[in-house]
């Protein structure tokens, strides 16, 4: 009976987060909706006038849309990867972060592919991908990988939500009718009986492994879109593992930032604690070192063997993109490394700061992988039209990019209104475990 009482307590503790909207949150939601609306206007303009309104031209045919695509999709894969690992290895303090990670995974996997659609000249013919598929094309592989991954992640996310839906169903007598009904449907008759619990645990565990495997496949296929071409900056055998590390770099950083914001705005200091930031900080340190190592290997081998095309690319990088390169590949790696390496520098704020630098650096790193390569093709660009020589994103592209970020945050807030961001079932499980083995630490 203890458990039932505790469940009620937890639902009561978290229900203000679900039901009440503060003034700040309303302002935020309005702002995010505004940004998304501007993005929609930009989208309509692009559909009506064609891709001529973007900064993309014959040489740089892929711009920040594809960078956003890689960024969000890699973020998702890394979310799946991290979440799978947290779950599979029963990491002691996972409970407070696992739902954040899962939501990041699914949201970015929905938003990422939208950006690749923005890149497509004939959206009206999108179904041709299924009508006339060619399995030889890496794009077809990517579509299969993303769709499989999306399905897998949805199932996985849903599985982790079920116990909480059940708790909400049993304990929200005062909630509006639609909410009760929604919880009842979503809980699919889960009553937390020992057999049900064990089955669910088993399935979730299996799915957590599947999701890791899916993420690795999907990462690699995404990297191959670039590395299987002959382009000097792309044709690299380390791209697939490089993308995995880069994805994890952004994934861990986004998780840290999300933890910081959620902790601050929802006053969850009790659940998201310093230990989480320290743990995430150490992981980010390891990944930033790996990321720096991969980046170094990639550019070092190009510089050392100095094939003519590589030299041309490096010239572009070190002239036109000098400061971008410094920011992406020096500051974006070294600042997080320095902050996270020394224990005395590691505070909640500094770890979050390191994460912000890491994300910005990584985004610029992606920009430098995509754009300068296309600006220095094998055949020299001999043109007089500036937009054909150098790519500059237009406001349309930026508006849609920010709309993507806004949609990510908005959906995050909305999901948090549906289910508590800290898995209540996880707390119950944890307490159950503690009762059985009281010597275990009291971390969440």
């Amino acid at each position: 009976m203890d458990v039932i009482k505790r469940k009620k307590e937890l639902v009561q503790e978290f229900s203000p987060m679900l039901e009440k909207s503060t003034k700040t949150s309303k302002v935020w939601i309005a702002f995010l909706v505004g940004v998304i609306l501007v993005g929609l206007v930009a989208f309509v303009i692009q559909v009506v006038k064609g891709h001529i309104v973007t900064g993309m031209r014959d040489n740089v045919v892929w711009g920040i849309y594809i960078i956003n695509f890689i960024f969000f999709v890699c973020l998702s894969y890394s979310g799946a990867f991290i979440s799978g690992i947290l779950h599979f290895f029963k990491t002691p303090w996972k409970n407070s972060v696992s739902r954040i990670v899962e939501i990041i995974t699914v949201l970015s996997l929905i938003i990422g592919p939208i950006f690749i659609l923005l890149c497509i000249g004939r959206l009206d013919r999108l179904y041709y991908l299924f009508l006339y598929p060619r399995i030889q094309s890496p794009i077809t592989w990517d579509i299969i990988a993303i769709m499989t991954d999306l399905l897998g992640c949805f199932i996985y996310l849903y599985l982790t939500f079920i116990p909480d839906f059940a708790m909400l169903r049993d304990n929200s007598e005062n909630a509006p009718k639609w909410r009760q009904k929604l919880y009842k449907t979503l809980a699919i008759k889960y009553y937390d009986t020992p057999t049900q619990r064990e089955t669910l645990h088993k399935i979730t565990r299996t799915m957590s492994v599947m999701v890791i495997a899916l993420a690795i496949v999907a990462y690699s296929v995404l990297a191959w879109i670039f590395s299987l071409t002959l382009q000097p900056g792309w044709n690299s055998s380390i791209f697939a593992p490089y993308f995995i590390i880069a994805g994890l770099y952004s994934g861990v950083s986004v998780i840290i930032i999300a933890m910081y914001l959620i902790r601050k705005f929802y006053h969850l200091d009790h659940y998201i604690r310093k230990v989480h930031f320290m743990g995430a900080g150490v992981i980010l340190l390891i990944i930033s070192l790996l990321f720096g190592y991969f980046t170094f290997s990639e550019y070092f081998s190009r510089w050392f063997s100095h094939k003519i095309e590589d030299v041309k690319l490096l010239d572009t990088l070190f002239n036109r993109y000098f400061w971008n390169f410094i920011f992406a590949n020096y500051i974006g790696v070294l600042v997080p490394v320095v902050i996270l390496f020394f224990k005395k520098f590691r505070t909640i704020k500094s770890v979050t700061f390191a994460a912000v630098i890491a994300i910005l650096g990584l985004y610029m790193n992606r920009y430098l992988i995509v754009v300068p390569t296309l600006e220095s093709p094998y055949m020299p660009i001999q043109d007089t039209r500036p937009e054909y020589i150098q790519y500059t994103a237009t406001w349309i592209e930026w508006a849609l990019s920010f709309a993507g970020i806004a949609a990510f945050i908005l959906f995050f807030i909305l999901i948090m209104k549906l289910v508590p961001i800290i898995p209540m079932s996880g707390i119950i499980d944890h307490e159950r475990e503690q009762k059985r083995k009281p010597h275990l630490s009291n971390n969440h």
Binding site: K49, G50, H51, I52, V53, T54, M56, R57, D58, N59, V61, W62, C119, I120, G121, R122, R125, L126, Y128, L129, L131, Y132, P133, R134, Q136, S137, P138, I139, T140, I143, I225, L228, T229, L230, Q231, L374, P377, Y378, M379, P380, I381, Q382, D383, T384, R385, Y388
Partner: protein, 327 residues
């Protein structure tokens, strides 16, 4: 003769093709090469024989039916995937004769209804190294035998035909631009916005002409298969006043620039023919003859519009000329 299957019905229009190129030679090279053959004008009943000269110098008689009877027929996207039977088209560009007259570019643009800056054929000024002698490089699509663009296309909108030509079906293209990023020769262009000419449907669309073009799809040099079907040279080759561009059939081992018809293999052997960026392994079907014993100094090519000249401002020789005040 092979290809009995094409002898009947609506496919008749392609019957000429097994002799198409020979007749093209006749059209441009005149009676010295082939007698009794006037391209595209045969409307004789079956049974009548015409005499033609094969590349190895033998005179043979063929049925007049085999000559193109319907040069003006539209090749639908479906038909355009098949290619012209028994052909393997090849282009040879003689760099020693090019002076950047840009007639190939203009002829191509006019035929394909391209805008000012949209060029299937680009003339680039190359200087391989500081000491290297600069030269003009007319660059069409190389119609590779291992085309990266075809491999990566997710819908099969771009395809490689049996006759070696790589074409794009703009009714199939979804505009993902993956082919553009995978082409190492920057041969492809994209229709970024809508243009009025796209609405002109007076000419039915064919991948062989790429007219009318469509917004949001990819285009490139197509080797003018519509002309080849009529036994004529591609527009770039026929527009060049210097005879820089030779075009022909590898199977017959024959290429012509309109005034001179030569053996392809002999030409490559004698003149040290090569393919651009051979190391990429794409196996182009466009060969270059090196710019030796030139007919014109490279600066003859500077006699173009200011705007065109401005394209080459980063090439060392152009910088040098500007410093010396010669430009």
């Amino acid at each position: 003769m092979a290809n009995k299957k094409t002898e009947n019905g609506s496919e008749n229009r392609r019957n000429f093709l097994r002799l198409g190129l020979m007749s093209s030679v006749s059209a441009v090279a005149g009676a010295s090469l082939i007698s009794n053959l006037a391209t595209g004008e045969e409307k004789k009943a079956s049974g009548e024989k015409v005499r033609v000269l094969t590349p190895d110098g033998k005179m043979v008689e063929v049925d007049a039916e085999s000559i193109n009877n319907y040069p003006e027929a539209v090749i639908t996207p479906e038909e355009s995937r098949k290619g012209i039977p028994d052909k393997k088209f090849v282009m040879v560009i003689d760099l020693s004769k090019c002076k950047n007259a840009r007639k190939c570019v203009e002829g191509c643009q006019k035929a394909h209804k391209l805008d000012d800056h949209q060029e299937f054929m680009k003339v680039q000024l190359m200087q391989n190294n500081e000491e290297g002698s600069p030269y003009w490089l007319p660059k069409p699509c190389f119609h590779c035998d291992e085309p990266p663009c075809v491999t990566v296309c997710p819908t099969g909108a771009t395809f490689k035909r049996d006759d070696g030509i790589v074409l794009i079906d703009n009714e199939r293209c979804i505009g993902c631009k993956f082919c553009i990023t995978s082409c190492p020769y920057s041969a492809r262009t994209f229709n970024w916005g809508h243009k009025e000419k796209f609405d002109d449907k007076s000419q039915p669309y064919s991948p062989e002409t790429q007219v009318p073009a469509a917004e949001g799809t990819v285009m490139k040099c197509d080797f003018c298969p519509d002309m080849l079907r009529q036994g004529k040279l591609p527009y770039c080759a026929s527009s060049c006043p210097m005879g820089v561009i030779y075009f022909g059939d590898k199977n017959e081992d024959i290429v012509t620039n309109g005034t001179e018809t030569v053996s392809f293999s002999q030409l490559i052997k004698d003149r040290g023919g090569y393919r651009h960026l051979e190391h990429l392994g794409t196996k182009p079907n466009v060969y270059y003859l090196p710019a030796v014993n030139r007919q014109f100094p490279v600066e003859r090519g500077f006699d173009v519009d200011e705007e065109i000249l401005d394209r080459y401002k980063d090439v060392p020789i152009v910088k040098e000329f500007k410093e010396q005040g010669k430009l």
